[in-house]
Symmetry: C3
Subunit: 332 residues, 3 copies
């Protein structure tokens, strides 16, 4: 299994046993964080982090990852660079990517929905970069996928439950005026279905996600002998859950109707909030979230600060998962 | 004396012999800057530098410090992060700090008076971070304290005078429209009093500093058998000084009256400037300043460029002092 | 030949055999990019990159260079620092440079025409820094010179042609509304003349470069037994060329007449574009360019994507040349 140079744009492009390999390596990397077997693997090598959108966890964790492997991450912001987003003013992606390919050993890109004209363009940009590079393109969150978050989620849940096959995941839309991206949600649904969980997706009407992603989730569920269902009944969704994931996401109407109308449309769903009462309906479920958490809106402090909340473990796992991906794709 | 994990928010939270330990180590670090005994102490470790306010010396010197110890500093600007200042929009400090605590081995924070609502809030933010972290929080200048500057000052003065006990320090308010922060001034007064200097603080009426700090200085002076006095007579203040520190600071009225009125109120004190003539009244005093210097206002070129000016030595000492703090608090 | 501490502001300040030494070392550095003979040469050392103007290639390549030599580059932007450009608000260059000199082992500065008041002031700033530092000042492109680009150009051309002496270089003004700087152009003309090429500079009337630079080019040509001529006849210029360099540059009128009038004046020279047809007149010439390329304006895709285009090789050579300069000037 040679993963050297392989892009990580979405987990869908990786085989199940390749994902297992990432997670197993991440587990060992976590246990032996500063062991000499890892600390010099990427000595002298550079990972370029291109941020079209800002980020706390992603930037810090990718930069720490390279430091701990002996290499270095460069923090790049396109507004300060002469880089082209497909056909915008500046330089072609072909030229930028070809040059980066000469200098670096890996490129991470973060580009969310508000940096592109329409849904899917962010992900296309990553694929455009991949066309001109031998070195791996690693998705640091685009408008469709966030594979490193999904792998960190699964790692965190596995640490508590062991094999996740047959366990129930409830993913709920949580109220928040923040109008979050789809990428973390969709990538978690994909990996959870693929790994055989019984996935229940609960959201108010009108908050449908990408239909192609949903179709893939159903296919994964059928292959993995898990299940995938969508409901608008929040209370039902909680019953028997082993894992609860509460997170806001915007509707697909947002770009037509504008931010203010979009936000206003959330108001009637203020009770879509993960509360202690809802959690009592579960199988003593673990609470997960990709952070930042909108406390009091998406979820109550009582839940997010409870012993069953593993949000900091998952945030930490971002580091270990990313180190594992970098080791597999960037070191020989 | 185990200082591993100890925060450096103000020198007041450190015992006198712990501060001595920092200064002694800094001296050795300076002498053996690239010796193998220091160059790998923080291999693979990350120091997060969170800058709410920009800085030249502080950013460069903290980043160099980690490089020279084998680790890496990340330069973070909250405007590009989703970090909360106490209760502002975004993420709670609890969540941000808890995650940073998983990734990094130390956190530096710089937050001055113009990034907060009222005096003391910047310092509170550091203490809020400290609440949620095991790793050390290092003050890179807040609205109350600047401990690394104070330690570098003392190191620089000691290099010239040996033991500073019983030596006279004259700290004067210097004219400048720049309306500087209190942190460097207050931290120098604290450490100088604690180390037994005879401190004379000279400023025009209306430029009183934090009364709590002044009280602490007096207590320190009495413990250390030094002295602490405040005068509005500049000429008197210079007499017999061994060290002169001339620096502008704003009045506490600034936030009520606004920047323009504040600045205008300085005009009548244009002669509060450290000149060659004033320096003649001293005991051939050394000139110190935390930089940047407002030449021609706070002090004349003749003084700042004279052989008795040790401002560059002190700027350099920032590096050595910070390396010493990092070694003591971040390496096992 | 001791180059330790020597500034690289322009190749004119370096002897011919010193430049040969840089190019020979760069060749070896390229062949042995991750060899232990190079990877630890600048362990623990810091290179400060001061960017008054943004850049893709320059920032990445200088930062990679230090990483690959074991050291670290700091990315500094003056807008976030309190640094003075000659006599602007803030701190004097003397004070900033003197402090940097204590912390770092080299300083790179990038400052183009739009960050200064008049042509030449950017270059003066570098010389001002050099006045107060023992460590090398490395020009990362100023308003007059871009020596690292010129060395990378020559390295690239040499890789294809061997000794460039007697080979014909055609440098043409290419149409583009981007109003590019003179630095890359002028530095290439200087090094090509110095290394004995037969240089033909072709541009529409009114796009004269710095007359001092042109004089120096002619002197170099006469010393090196090359030649240097200027023409306004583009077709003639192409005949027999071994290397073609097509690049836009602004006229010296720009600051008087403003950007809009300047740009409009380019419209009648839209056919000043490097096409496949023009290239047929050459001696199967190599195409070079400092990037970013304005495709379809300065040059057609057919040319820039052809097998004779070596633009990515030259971009890569930036890294190797810079590593060579850093090794020679920053390691003992």
């Amino acid at each position: 299994m040679d993963l050297y140079g392989k892009d990580m744009i979405t987990i869908c492009d990786w085989k199940k046993d390749e994902l297992d390999k990432v997670l197993n390596l991440a587990k060992d990397v976590k246990k032996n964080r500063f062991s000499p077997k890892y600390t010099n693997l990427l000595n002298g090598k550079t990972f370029l982090m291109v941020f079209y959108n800002p980020s706390l966890r992603t930037r810090i964790s990718f930069e720490v990852a390279m430091t701990e492997l002996g290499g270095h991450s460069q923090f790049l912001e396109p507004s300060k660079m002469r880089v082209k987003l497909l056909e915008v003013e500046g330089e072609t992606v072909k030229d930028s990517a070809s040059v980066m390919n000469r200098y670096a050993h890996g490129i991470g890109i973060r580009i969310l929905e508000d940096a592109v004209e329409k849904y899917g363009d962010g992900d296309l940009l990553l694929r455009e970069y991949a066309k001109y590079t031998d070195i791996p393109i690693i998705n640091m969150a685009d408008d469709v996928y966030h594979p490193c978050q999904a792998l960190a989620d699964t790692m965190g849940v596995t640490e508590q439950l062991g094999d996740v096959k047959g366990k129930k995941l409830t993913m709920m839309w949580g109220y928040s005026p923040k109008m979050r991206s789809w990428c973390s949600i969709q990538s978690n649904l994909l990996i959870s279905s693929r790994f055989g969980m019984n996935v229940t997706l609960a959201h108010p009407e009108g908050f449908d996600l990408d239909p192609n992603i949903i179709t893939t989730c159903k296919d994964y569920a059928s292959e993995s002998e898990g299940s995938f269902e969508i409901t608008h009944n929040l209370k039902e969704a909680f019953k028997g859950a082993d894992v609860v994931y509460s997170r806001n996401w915007m509707s697909s109407r947002r770009y037509k109707i504008g931010d203010e109308v979009e936000k206003a449309s959330y108001e009637k769903y203020r009770d879509w909030r993960c509360t202690k009462e809802f959690m009592k309906l579960t199988n003593d479920a673990y609470f997960i979230h990709p952070m930042p958490v909108d406390r009091g809106n998406e979820v109550d402090d009582e839940v997010v600060d409870s012993p069953r909340s593993i949000i900091y473990d998952i945030a930490e796992n971002r580091l270990h998962v990313q180190k594992a991906i970098m080791i597999l794709t960037m070191s020989k």
